[in-house]
């Protein structure tokens, strides 16, 4: 029987060099044996912190070379170098100070950070969950879009009492995203289609579906030619608490739920087993196709929840750009969070803070462009993905930490 359900099975015989290398790793790992001891996760945490620091350092260079006063002072650097250093320092200081205060400097800033982080956390959890089951979910974007369409439609079409309306719209978004994810899961489980291919294609389908729907009467705002729907009813909006909308609480609660699912439930046990060794999971009686389908269903539902955060957070309308780049940022968040729920929450908060602080940074005296935050995000993940580089720079010992679960995402 051709085994369609398992793209991660090792194929062929390993060459002796690889054998020797893996043996070395195994033997090196043997002494840091307990998976729960700090010796196991501490190096990972160190690498992450170091990656953030390094990214800020490179970011500082970028701030310097893009600052007008610094560039001008460079032209007379040899006659009066002091100006160059002073302006550089000022530019870096102003930019990063603005970034910091914009992220956590006030109640409003913190609210903004949390609201920006919530959809990233939800969608990031979807990507993380798929990682843990051995799948690379590139489709959070498409799942988000379909979730937004469903949640939005329920939100602005029906006239329901507050509370009930919110719950229904939320469930519609979650269901929409979940179904969209389940398509990729089913295709993998039943037809052996690689999820990277199918999710990317489904992203296109979702994006075009949204554009199409926004030209239809049921979605398009009355009397307008713009691809934009009515805003969702106030009865379907997350109520504000403590200055931010309560969807943030939902995101944190869901992160806890996913942690429980992965670490404490039989389904999570199956997901992790399939992700780590699908053959052994099958031999132990688990249904690998079922696990793939369930995982993508839940991953899609989480992306759908991210869409719900977006569209029900405030009185938002459905637009062509409703998902922004959250579906793709979610991949970055999951990578940085090492595909664990806690890590994903922390990474989501960091990215939320960068997004929120970036706006203030652009408005600061140094007028550093908002794009710098995106460069910072990319650099952080880049450094995290190259733990050997970080260790080289910081002269840390290689203890096997920092190896990521993502290495096998593409199968073999």
């Amino acid at each position: 029987m051709p085994d369609v359900s398992d793209p991660n099975a090792p194929k062929g015989q390993a060459d002796p060099e690889a054998d020797a290398a893996t043996k070395a790793q195994v033997e090196a790992a043997a002494h840091a044996a307990d998976l729960r001891s700090p010796a196991t996760w501490l190096p990972t945490a160190k690498v992450t912190v170091a990656a953030i620091a390094l990214a800020l350092l490179v970011g500082a260079l970028l701030i310097v070379v893009s600052d007008q006063r610094v560039i001008e002072s460079a032209s007379y650097f040899f006659s009066y170098p002091w100006d160059f250093f002073r302006f550089s320092g000022e530019a870096i200081g102003q930019s990063y100070w603005a970034l910091l205060t914009g992220a956590v400097g006030s109640g409003a800033a913190i609210s903004q950070t949390l609201e920006r982080a919530a959809p990233l956390i939800c969608a990031g959890l979807g990507v993380s969950l798929a990682f843990r089951a051995g799948m690379f979910n590139i489709g959070a974007q498409g799942q988000l879009i379909i979730g937004a369409v469903c949640a939005g439609y329920v939100g602005f079409t029906f006239d329901l009492p507050p509370g009930l309306h919110l719950v229904l719209a939320l469930l519609a978004g979650v269901a929409g995203g979940g179904l969209w994810g389940a398509i990729a899961g089913l295709l993998k489980a039943q037809a052996g289609a690689h999820e990277v291919i199918t999710t990317i294609m489904l992203n296109y389908v979702a994006g075009s579906t949204l554009l199409f729907l926004l030209t239809k009467d049921a979605f398009q705002r009355e009397g307008s030619n713009n691809p934009r729907s009515e805003p969702v009813d106030s009865s379907a909006v997350f109520p504000d608490i403590l200055g931010f909308h309560s969807g943030v609480i939902v995101a944190i609660a869901v992160a806890f739920l996913i942690w429980w699912l992965l670490e404490r439930s039989t389904l999570g046990f199956e997901m992790r087993a399939v992700g780590a060794n699908a053959d052994a999971a099958r031999t132990a009686g688990m249904s690998v196709p079922k696990v793939y389908t369930m995982t993508m269903l839940i991953a899609g539902a989480l992306a759908g929840l991210a869409a719900v955060q977006q569209i029900l957070g405030h009185h938002d309308s459905l637009t062509a750009n409703v998902a922004g780049s959250i579906g793709f940022d979610a991949i970055t968040v999951a990578l940085l969070g090492r595909a664990t729920p806690l890590g994903t929450v922390l990474a989501g908060l960091l990215f939320g803070a960068l997004a929120s602080g970036g706006v203030q940074m652009q408005a600061s005296a140094a007028a550093t462009p908002l794009e710098l935050t995106q460069v910072l995000q990319a650099l952080i993940v880049l450094f995290v993905a190259a733990p050997a580089l970080i260790r080289g720079v910081l002269r840390m010992r290689d203890t096997g930490g920092g190896a990521t679960v993502m290495a096998k995402g593409w199968g073999s």
Binding site: A14, D15, P16, A28, A30, L35, R264, S265, T266, N277
Partner: protein, 512 residues
């Protein structure tokens, strides 16, 4: 050429894989390197062959120190290695494989096949290897493929030949032939380092035996040393090499396979009309050389692949349509042949692996929730009962030694009441101490009235455990015999003969 290893040490982090190892290999000597899996034999050889960089010590060739940065350097210096897994291109001829990497051309990039074929023919007759240079490698039996590897090394003018577990993939006959070849190589001055954990072979061929345990040389012994003494050196304590067991008291037939046929993805009939019965309280041993359909037979039996024909009856119930979960739940215990591939999840903890196929039971979960305390209790219990050597129950199984990894699998399968135990290669890559333990547990399970089916390519294991022996060759069961028959007869059956001694000559000539 004299090869000296002086104080060679290899550290991985704080783990010392090789600790101050000194061995001298005299010219024209067959030097056996005996040690359990994980004792550090392969690490040592990988350093000799330039695959690993030593952390300390030196290697001397004819008295002068050398250092190898790559296998290329080692080959240049006259060291050849035959790996356990062959490095051959199946669709190339023998001659093409031999000239691979050092192709000789006749100008304009035209390959000089003729010259390569001549070289193979020359070496083949010089060392009595009987290899046809124009045969496609994929058409050759495993034993001959191994000789192609040896020719490759000899073509590179190897003076020292390292054979890494060369007998693991061979039939008893092929092992005898290999030993002949080793003797002929030795006569003509080639030194051989023969790596193995099989005591019988060491005694049959070795000139000197160096025993390695936990990365250290524990001693050098002459081949006259009794087997149990060698085993004791290897393991570090006294071991029983013979399984203690009473005669079986077979009961009813529990498992019956009727006319099973499996056709693989390429259209080959890999299991051909196989029928057998396994009775309660009896061990049925399925002997055979690797790759004669045992793998597929067992996978079909467990519902991991679909048989193309035939029935599997468990207590007279047809289970041939069942999946693995149903079979496991019905009381079939399964120890897969490739444990790291199918038996455990390496990244999972010992604790988790011990419930890999039990987590759905009420004992370990309630609804969707795992009962972590029960899982931990179970782990504590099994680790003690099966003497699993692990730092904690939260260590990943990949960090354990092969024997302890296998014990995790065995412990898991033995932790529920069984009607049938299906064990494929239950002690492959397992140290002598653990072999003893696992064998005893299997016999205990038999005495409890379980029908046991053991698949093994190791005749010693089959003879030690089985009450009846079915021999598989080319997808068929060529005969079922009692363990009292002579070893040679089973060896012949493993090579396809139906037990009649007259056919022996024909088989022996096949390769010549």
């Amino acid at each position: 050429m004299k090869l000296e290893i002086r104080g060679l040490t290899k550290r991985f982090g704080s783990f010392v894989a090789n600790d101050d190892i000194s061995i001298t290999i005299e010219p024209g000597e067959i030097h056996c390197l005996l040690g359990e899996n994980g004792a550090g034999k392969s690490t040592l050889m990988n350093m000799l062959y330039g695959l690993l960089e030593p952390s300390g010590g030196e290697v001397l060739l004819d008295g002068s120190p050398v250092s190898f940065n790559s296998p290329g350097d080692a080959i240049e210096a006259g060291i050849g290695m035959v790996h356990q897994h062959f490095m051959l291109v199946p669709v190339f001829t023998v001659a093409e494989n031999v000239m691979l990497g050092r192709e000789q051309t006749r100008g304009l990039g035209v390959l000089d096949r003729h010259k390569a074929a001549e070289l193979v023919r020359g070496l083949s007759s010089q060392y009595r290897l009987a290899v046809d240079p124009d045969a496609l490698v994929e058409n050759l039996p495993v034993g001959v493929q191994q000789r192609v590897e040896i020719i490759k090394a000899l073509a590179n003018e190897a003076k020292v030949l390292i054979l890494d577990e060369p007998t693991a993939v061979l039939t008893p006959q092929e092992i005898d032939e290999l030993m002949e070849i080793m003797r002929s190589l030795k006569e003509q001055g080639t030194s051989i380092v023969f790596i193995t954990h099989k005591l019988r072979e060491v005694k049959a061929i070795g000139d000197r035996i160096t025993v390695i345990r936990r990365g250290k040389v524990v001693g050098t012994a002459p081949p006259t040393t009794p087997e149990n003494e060698l085993a004791e050196m290897m393991v570090g304590r006294e071991v029983k090499l013979v399984v203690d067991k009473d005669p079986a008291e077979p009961g009813d037939t529990v498992l019956e396979v009727r006319n099973m046929t499996v056709i693989d993805g390429r259209g080959h009939t890999v299991v051909n009309d196989v029928s057998f019965q396994a009775r309660a309280g009896e061990v049925l041993g399925i002997a055979g050389v690797q790759g004669n359909g045992q793998t597929e037979l067992i996978k079909a039996l467990m519902g991991l692949i679909k048989p193309d024909a035939g029935q599997i009856m468990l207590n007279r119930r047809d289970i041939s349509k069942w999946g693995p979960r149903d079979s496991l739940e019905a009381g079939i215990g399964y120890i897969p042949e490739d444990r790291s591939h199918d038996g455990y999840v390496g990244a999972f903890t010992v604790r988790e692996n011990l419930v890999l196929d039990l987590y759905k039971h009420d004992e370990f979960s309630r609804g969707l929730a795992l009962r972590l305390d029960a899982v931990a209790d179970n782990a504590r219990h099994r680790i003690e009962e099966f003497d699993i050597r692990t730092e904690t129950m939260n260590s990943p199984v990949s960090a354990l030694s092969g024997g302890n990894q296998q014990k995790v699998v065995v412990a898991r399968e033995f932790s529920r009441p069984l009607k049938v135990l299906v064990a494929s290669q239950p002690t492959r890559g397992v140290d002598v101490g653990s072999i003893e333990f696992i064998h005893n547990r299997i016999i205990e399970e038999r005495d409890r009235g379980t029908a046991v089916v053991i698949v093994s390519t190791e005749l010693d294991e089959i003879f030690g455990l089985a009450d009846r022996i079915a021999v598989m060759y080319d997808g068929r069961i060529v005969g079922t015999v009692s363990p009292d028959v002579p070893r040679e007869q089973i060896g012949l059956m493993m090579a396809g003969a139906h037990g009649a001694p007259a056919e022996a000559a024909a088989v022996g000539n096949e390769d010549a």
